[in-house]
């Protein structure tokens, strides 16, 4: 037997040629095997494209599964904790799914494409789990990450850009809605979804039509400040929107080894996604038990004094006049649009109720030397950035 040498190359998305063309920084990283850029020319400017004009992010590396079959609806309803019978065809749902112990495996968006047909889109790969969940059900799961090219088109002028592209029906498209249209003979799906907490859309098309779509999109956005962005800018925007990132703000439960390192939906502030009134779903018994007994951890959004981002910091709470360690920061950034030092974190219950005060121990480096500051932080309930334009239907014509 001869052993065949398999040459491992980074995967490239169907937009790669275009991305390589605009790239000036050569800051690539590995996103689930694909080459993805932190930034193409300046992450600050890229960030402001999200908030002030239109930003385009290649999100093809997001894991995508097609779920089809006579029992597809029953399947997603059992897989996910929220009541999926309420998500009609043409609607999208943000959802989490749990293992038997009620611990979050991942979060993602579920697109109800047609009757008995869904797309599940997530950060991590889950074929093994999805296949196991399909045992005994009339449903097929197909991994289609490489087949479907996807772009996030986000920002206040994104509506105008897409209208310019010739897409009709956007006036009525509400947040978490989707529509199918034609692009040069291929089916283009447009969903009003995103990871920025702003007005924005996501485009989904067969990989073969990726480049023509890119070219037409940038042509349509020429006068609306359209810019390609890397993942760095997106990360700032998603923290401002208070959105979780798998691998940062929680670990996929099936990847943890030590007990207590995973989180339940309640512990991630996602209790609103758990519906005990619907039929059986994965993790139900454990979650009901947790609700009865109380959770261990609480997800917090923090507004921290000062301007030094609290990366990887410990969180402290005051008990009997003394500061005691209560948890830690999982994501932190200086928010340019809110002009706030913001962070997401996880603290032990009972700490971290909205409106309460916590302390964050921030280490920062100035010209090689480290300093430390104990900064006061307020626990906030709402996302840091949540403009009305995000929900306005029809969206404004900026």
């Amino acid at each position: 037997m001869t052993i065949q040498q398999v040459k491992q190359r980074p995967l490239q998305t169907p937009f790669h040629a275009r991305l390589a063309e605009i790239d000036r920084l050569n800051q690539w990283h590995n996103w689930k095997g694909y080459s993805a850029a932190d930034a193409y020319y300046d992450h600050g400017l890229e960030y402001f494209a999200i908030r002030n004009s239109t930003a385009v992010l290649d999100l093809t590396p997001m894991t995508k599964y097609r779920i089809r079959g006579a029992e597809a609806a029953a399947y997603v309803d059992r897989l996910l904790t929220r009541d999926m019978s309420k998500i009609r065809p043409g609607r999208v749902a943000y959802a989490v799914w749990c293992n038997d112990q009620g611990q979050v495996i991942d979060d993602g968006t579920v697109f109800h494409l047609r009757e008995n047909e869904y797309r599940l889109c997530s950060q991590e790969r889950h074929l093994a789990w999805l296949t196991a969940a399909a045992i005994g059900m009339d449903v097929t799961i197909t991994e289609e990450t490489a087949d479907i090219a996807a772009l996030a088109v986000q920002g206040p002028t994104s509506f105008s850009v897409l209208k310019n592209l010739g897409i009709t029906g956007l006036d009525e498209l509400k947040p978490f809605g989707l529509l199918h249209t034609d692009f040069e003979g291929a089916e283009l799906m447009v969903s009003r979804t995103g990871f920025t907490g702003d007005l924005g859309y996501e485009l989904w098309i067969a990989a073969s039509h990726a480049e023509p779509l890119w070219d037409a999109l940038f042509e349509a956005g020429r006068l609306h400040g359209i810019r390609a962005i890397g993942t760095h800018a997106l990360d700032v925007a998603r923290i401002e929107a208070g959105l979780l990132a798998a691998g940062d703000d929680f670990l996929p439960a099936e990847e943890t080894v030590r007990p207590g390192r995973s989180r339940s939906p309640f512990e991630l502030g996602l209790g609103w996604l758990v519906d005990f009134k619907k039929p059986n779903f994965n993790g139900r018994q454990a979650l009901a038990e947790e609700q009865r007994r109380g959770s261990t951890w609480r997800f917090v959004k923090l507004n921290i004094e000062g301007n030094k981002p609290a990366h990887h910091s410990y969180i402290y709470a005051k008990r009997r006049g003394r500061l005691k360690q209560a948890g830690f920061i999982t994501s932190a950034v200086w928010s340019p649009v809110c002009k706030q030092n913001i962070a997401l974190g996880t603290v032990r219950v009972p700490h971290g109720e909205a409106g309460s005060t916590l302390w964050v121990e921030i280490y920062y480096q100035r010209e090689m030397h480290w300093s430390r500051v104990m900064a006061e932080a307020e626990v906030v309930a709402k996302p840091f950035w949540d403009p009305p334009r995000r929900r306005a239907t029809p969206p404004g014509d900026f």
Binding site: L79, N99, A132, A133, I135, M137, P279, N282, R284, Q285
Partner: protein, 514 residues
């Protein structure tokens, strides 16, 4: 109106009958539903040819767990007890194994067998204490689990240092290495190897085939007997007992599904559409069928469904029944010898080679056989002067690559008859009728998935705390109100009744603590 019961038992195998009886004894209103015309499951005596009857599936009794028989107040009448095993030799130089004594082997082997027997007896006794109670739940902080675990550790430690080490050495080991190390006589090696792998999808060189041997010995120390009237007599006695205690037994009622309402078992629906309500449903069916077909995976957790889906239960034993117009002869054996248990397993390598094709979905061209002439011990089974042969033949994989058809059945039967002719040249001439049950037939007729008589391979990864799978080893399935009571649950198969009795106790204990 839908009839209501305190408990419904799905399936009237011996475990189902025992469980139903004990629940009824505790004052419950119990309904037992059986798909076939008669209860008894794999312990039935049936007519397979005109005027010839045979124990259709299980054909020897390794002993009801003594305390089960005591609890239920039954003492089956035995046609023969303490049967010897005769390892057949084509030249007539057979080896006779009678408990710790062996005939036809040299004195070194005799001494080794005495030692081996004593040791296995001691270890199977330890196993027996484990088999007669609900296994503790691992990782729990409940007092009863911790106490049970501590008792298990203590019992192991009380074996003494040398024996404990020996037990731990043997428990995961294969029988082949052990018999090769101890014994010189190939027939002795072969017979013990066969004992260890009977009814499994394992060869003598497969891991934990000493465990399977200990398991068989655990009820009564390897003592083999045969009830008068065949195995069906045991089931009849159990059914009589069940009825006496008020169990409502209904046959020809095949359960189609277990009704789940509001996240818990709420009753059953039969094939004809009748529903029965009960907040306690006890399944005597195998765990896979129970969860995958009767309940439906959507009603349980994904991880649990995956574990159940992956339970290994590929049956490998076929059953051959012959109607004979007279007793055949085997060189070197008299009529009394023929009433013992005879085995065709000339050496351990032979048994292992017989297993090899089964791994690839083919039946053994040189099979191993356990045969008995039950009519010699029990004249109710055949007309005067005529006889019945009942044999378990391995290996015949459930998932035969070429598929089980009349043709493949006939082919395998020819293989078996050719093999038997080497020992008894006149057997073929005596046959007036025959029946071969392949594992698919056993699966279909006795409702055991894969035709596996333990309802799930008896290996360490599916044993004790994790039988049938983690999360269901205490008889309660992770669906409120649903329980297992069959061979797929702890401890496993054989007509011992431990699973049914333990399940009943677990159900009653749970109720008490609720």
């Amino acid at each position: 109106m839908t009839e209501q019961f305190d408990a419904i038992v799905v399936g009237g195998g011996h475990n189902g009958l025992i469980c139903a009886t004990l629940l009824a004894q505790a004052g419950k209103d119990v309904l037992l539903l059986e798909a076939n015309e008669t209860v008894g499951g794999a312990a039935v005596t049936e007519t397979f040819a005109d005027d010839f009857r045979v124990s259709r599936c299980a054909h020897l009794l390794y002993g009801l767990q003594p305390d089960v028989a005591r609890d239920l107040g039954i003492s089956p009448r035995l046609a023969s007890d303490n049967m010897a095993t005769i390892a057949l030799d084509t030249a007539g130089k057979h080896v006779r194994i009678d408990g710790a004594r062996a005939g036809g082997v040299d004195s070194a082997d005799q001494a080794e067998l005495r030692e081996f027997h004593a040791q296995m007896l001691k270890f199977s006794g330890l196993l027996r204490t484990l088999l007669n109670k609900t296994p503790p739940r691992l990782g729990s902080n409940r007092r009863q689990d911790l106490v049970a675990l501590a008792q298990l550790g203590l019992r192991l430690r009380l074996l003494g240092k040398a024996d404990m080490r020996e037990f731990l050495r043997l428990i995961g080991m294969n029988i082949y290495d052990e018999v090769e190390e101890r014994f010189g006589n190939p027939l002795l090696r072969g017979a013990l190897s066969l004992d260890a792998v009977l009814g499994t999808h394992l060869g003598p060189r497969s891991p934990n085939t000493i465990l399977t041997l200990l398991y068989r010995w655990s009820a009564t120390g390897g003592r083999i007997s045969s009830p008068a009237g065949g195995m069906g007599a045991i089931s009849d006695a159990l059914a009589d007992g069940a009825r006496r205690h008020g169990v409502d037994i209904r046959t020809r009622m095949k359960v189609k599904r277990i009704v789940v309402d509001n996240g818990r078992a709420a009753g059953v629906e039969t094939e004809d559409g009748t529903t029965f309500d009960s907040l306690t449903v006890v399944s005597n069916a195998d765990p896979k069928h129970t969860v995958m077909d009767l309940v439906g995976t959507r009603h349980v957790e994904t991880g649990f469904a995956r574990r159940i889906h992956n339970v290994r239960m590929q049956g490998n034993a076929a059953k051959l029944h012959l109607a004979l117009d007279g007793l055949p002869t085997i060189k070197g054996l008299d009529k009394k010898d023929l009433s013992q248990r005879l085995v065709v397993a000339p050496d351990a390598d032979y048994v292992e080679r017989a297993f090899n094709p089964a791994k690839y979905g083919e039946y053994s061209p040189q099979p191993v056989i356990e045969l008995t002439f039950p009519s010699l011990r029990d004249d109710s089974l055949a007309p005067a002067g005529k006889h019945v042969m009942s044999a378990i033949v391995q290996y015949a994989p459930h998932a035969l690559r070429s598929g089980w058809s009349d043709e493949t059945r006939a082919g395998f039967e020819r293989v078996i008859m050719d093999k038997l002719a080497e020992y008894s040249p006149d057997l073929g001439k005596r046959v007036t009728d025959s029946e071969l049950l392949a594992p698919v037939d056993i699966a279909q007729r006795f409702g055991m998935g894969g035709g596996h008589w333990h309802h799930g391979e008896l290996t360490l990864d599916q044993f004790l705390f994790v039988r049938p799978v983690a999360g269901a080893a205490q008889y309660a399935l992770p669906l409120e109100g649903l329980f297992l009571c069959g061979a797929g649950a702890h401890p496993g198969g054989d007509v011992s009744g431990a699973a049914g009795r333990n399940a009943a106790r677990a159900i009653l204990a749970r109720e008490k603590s609720a």
